[in-house]
Subunit: 356 residues, 3 copies
């Protein structure tokens, strides 16, 4: 499929890249990542120019990489610099190299013209480095289109159903005695979309109750900002007379293929920052993995399989889908500006626009 | 592929449908089945109109079903009757609903114009309710075209080879000292085909010997009737001076896809009906599962894989294939009458007609 | 794809063919092999002419085979000779039969016009029967094109990288203090290609050191001869003042499909022939399986997957690839002479020719 261009793709956690080469497909391109002796992160096409063996099966030598099939060596620009048993190297022995930035605990990859790769355009995640807060990082692998997974994170209203018994609120169901009220606000600024959803006077699911540190009703706020290709900045707050706890999160979706996605996440809290009382980093890891892998991903993958089965049926938007609607509209404009066809996935969802 | 139209498709055992929704694909259509609070069985398109999540992951509420992703609720007509946080429901929020009849221990589904759904056309299986007999039900899942599996059940001559050491007869092999005689009779009446095969003076395999209740040679009779789309009514009798035991069976084939099939079966006996002496229900379950899953299904699936490998080779019919031949001929006429193209599977098999 | 014609395809080890039928696909054709009562090896199309059940699920009767679905019997010419319960057999009940030669411990199959099947054209492997030597046979299954696997065996230079820590030599790496010298010689004679590679004064990996029977530097020689479709005769020698040990090997590649291969091998040694001291047959089996299944096949399969991902990128040949280059050139000429299109796999690799 057509992927968004001229953007940095979050491709790995910093901790994933070592001197053992890592094979990872980004936007259908097979890429080998490794950290050279100098600490520099390198991203090359994952093939030896000689006989197409994956370089990811090779060995790092300084900042270079040696193919383990016949010993050809490539430097970090993608040029072959050594062929065993011969003095010269054919000029055509060259593979693609990709610009990389390491920042905020992630590896960001540029797939377009290297001359246009501006490190200042990497999304801004300063709270990951704030000494008063404490960050935990995740990578999840999802068998669904990256837009479907992003939509899940933008559509906060699902927390009251899919996450009812974990991190959601206990409200919104048909026939329920409703005392809660919901405020929504959505605002587009250039290529960014801002959204606030605030639920007043709500009881929380058991995990969210522990985060809030209060079992009384709270005001639960989600403040979100989306930017291309699919980074969702989210600030989650629980507030009442007893408490005010905040979590900064980024949900960053990177296409592996049209139907598989890397979902990166950082979960940055302003409570339990001593990592001794609840929650410790390990609590956060366990809880988030349970929710994302046990509730979100199975649903999004089921949705993808159903879309594949039913073909191009059109979604029927709800009033609460305003944020997704605005984001899809923005994405369509980005494709149009670049004279690119809008991917099928965004055409199907585009009908949500009318509900905006 | 093209499936037979204007017929009731056996889709589930009655016992399979509860207030936990069941996802099942019938004729390539993903359908959710559930039993509402009233006891009514409901069959809906298995997708939420909002964002295409499978309703089969949802929760039954009365006779309605709630999507567990965002809480939309659908009634048994397929109309959306509730959207969280809004007073009105978009008219377009609607999915298909299918007529259903629960009868003879099965759920029968109608995929065509509901106005034409006549419950009187459900196949007639009265022995399943006869107090003097005792019924055991089965569902087998087969990775082959439903016609191939049906052909297996119509072609009784395979019992002497494939089931030689279980439920078959010990006769018919090359070089065997033959004292048996076989009578065949085939008769077409409208869209139904009748067939009788009688083997005289035959020894039986060990399991069939136990059913017969006699280790002496018997007359073994199969009396069969086929009706569309692929229900095979079968009466199996073992008779000699010592014994006369009878089994009423229905073998009912429903397409899941062009190469996968639900095979429903009821096995109704006039012996061991106290469920204390041999055979108990558990004996029947164990024996049938061993024969169908250990002998029939592996062969039919191997046949399907071979047909896929060899492409359109034509079958060479035998004299004993008269019943299949007549059924295929009838099915071709049904397709022709409906102005539908004959499925490839029936074209390949159609050459059997000349042997009829 | 198009496979080489008018050649004998090595299809099984002699020991694999018994009176239990064996299903094996050769060049995309499903074939059943069995050994009749007379000891004769039979190769038939693996389908019953009646209803396309695989005959490989059947039973051998004398030199004939009985289908286990409905009891049809076929003789070794592919003619049906018995249909249960009828006196005559339809003339059209006939399947293909293939010429077979059993020689040198292998079963060789002819897929073209039987009139052209000349047993004298089976590759010549006399050392497998030399009483002074001792042979061990192997069959490996590879998920890659047969040419890719053959290239691995023809390209001896990979032993210094892929097999560095097992059967290779400890030499050739960038920055290594080189005292070794490599001689190459390549010679084309008609449709055969001869090649010698000799590494002087080299240290060996641990397994090769055990074969050589000397831990001092040796001269390591590989003398190879290739013939169509893809049989590689190889003589491996280790020699210094202490030792001179020799292994005769054949590597024989047979296409299962365009992306799967049977790799047959015989490993014939002139040392340890009493099968008591090192190496015993069991040592050979364990060592070769570890190297081929742990080092060669994973690399060739990774190469195949990469070629599938990257599409038609062209290889950049090295000076040491002279043998592969000459073989591909010869194969292209064989296809051209037969007025057949050159397979994609050989087009991609054909650029190696320029380096020859």
């Amino acid at each position: 499929m057509e992927y968004p261009q001229l953007v940095w793709y979050c491709s790995a956690l910093s901790t994933e890249i070592t001197d053992t080469p890592l094979a990872r497909m980004i936007c259908e391109k097979p890429i080998v990542f490794y950290r050279g002796k100098s600490g520099k992160v390198v991203a090359l096409e994952d093939r030896c120019a000689h006989r197409q063996a994956p370089l990811s099966l090779g060995r790092v030598q300084g900042d270079d990489i040696e193919c383990s099939y016949h010993g050809f060596v490539f430097d970090c620009s993608g040029a072959c610099v050594y062929v065993p048993r011969q003095d010269t190297v054919p000029k055509s022995a060259r593979i693609a190299s990709y610009p990389v930035v390491e920042r905020w605990g992630y590896i960001w990859l540029w797939l377009d013209d290297p001359a246009k790769a501006d490190p200042n355009c990497v999304p801004h995640l300063p709270w990951t480095e704030d000494k008063a807060l404490r960050a935990v990082y995740f990578r999840f692998d999802v068998n669904a289109n990256f837009q479907l997974m992003a939509d899940n994170l933008m559509d906060v209203s699902h927390t009251e159903f899919l996450h009812r018994t974990s991190i959601g609120s206990q409200t919104g169901r048909r026939g329920q005695d409703e005392e809660t009220k919901v405020d929504l606000d959505c605002r587009v600024e250039g290529d960014r979309v801002h959204f606030v959803r605030r639920v007043h006077n709500t009881l929380l699911g058991p995990v969210a109750t522990k985060w809030a540190g209060s079992s009384k009703p709270v005001t639960r706020s989600n403040t979100l900002m989306w930017e291309a290709p699919n980074t969702i900045h989210s600030v989650l707050e629980f507030q009442n007379e007893e408490t005010h706890n905040t979590v900064h999160m980024e949900h960053i979706m990177t296409p592996r293929t049209a139907t598989s996605t890397f979902y990166f996440m950082n979960w940055v809290r302003d409570f339990g920052t001593d990592n001794v009382g609840y929650p410790t980093d390990e609590d956060v890891r366990r809880e988030q993995t349970a929710v994302v892998c046990g509730e979100d991903i199975p649903m999004v993958e089921a949705q993808q399989r159903n879309i594949d089965l039913f073909g191009m049926v059109q979604d029927v938007p709800a009033r609460q889908d305003r944020f997704i609607t605005a984001v899809h509209h923005t994405l369509r404009q980005i494709y149009a500006k670049a004279d690119k066809p809008v991917p099928a996935e965004l055409q199907r969802l585009a009908v949500l626009r009318q509900a905006g």
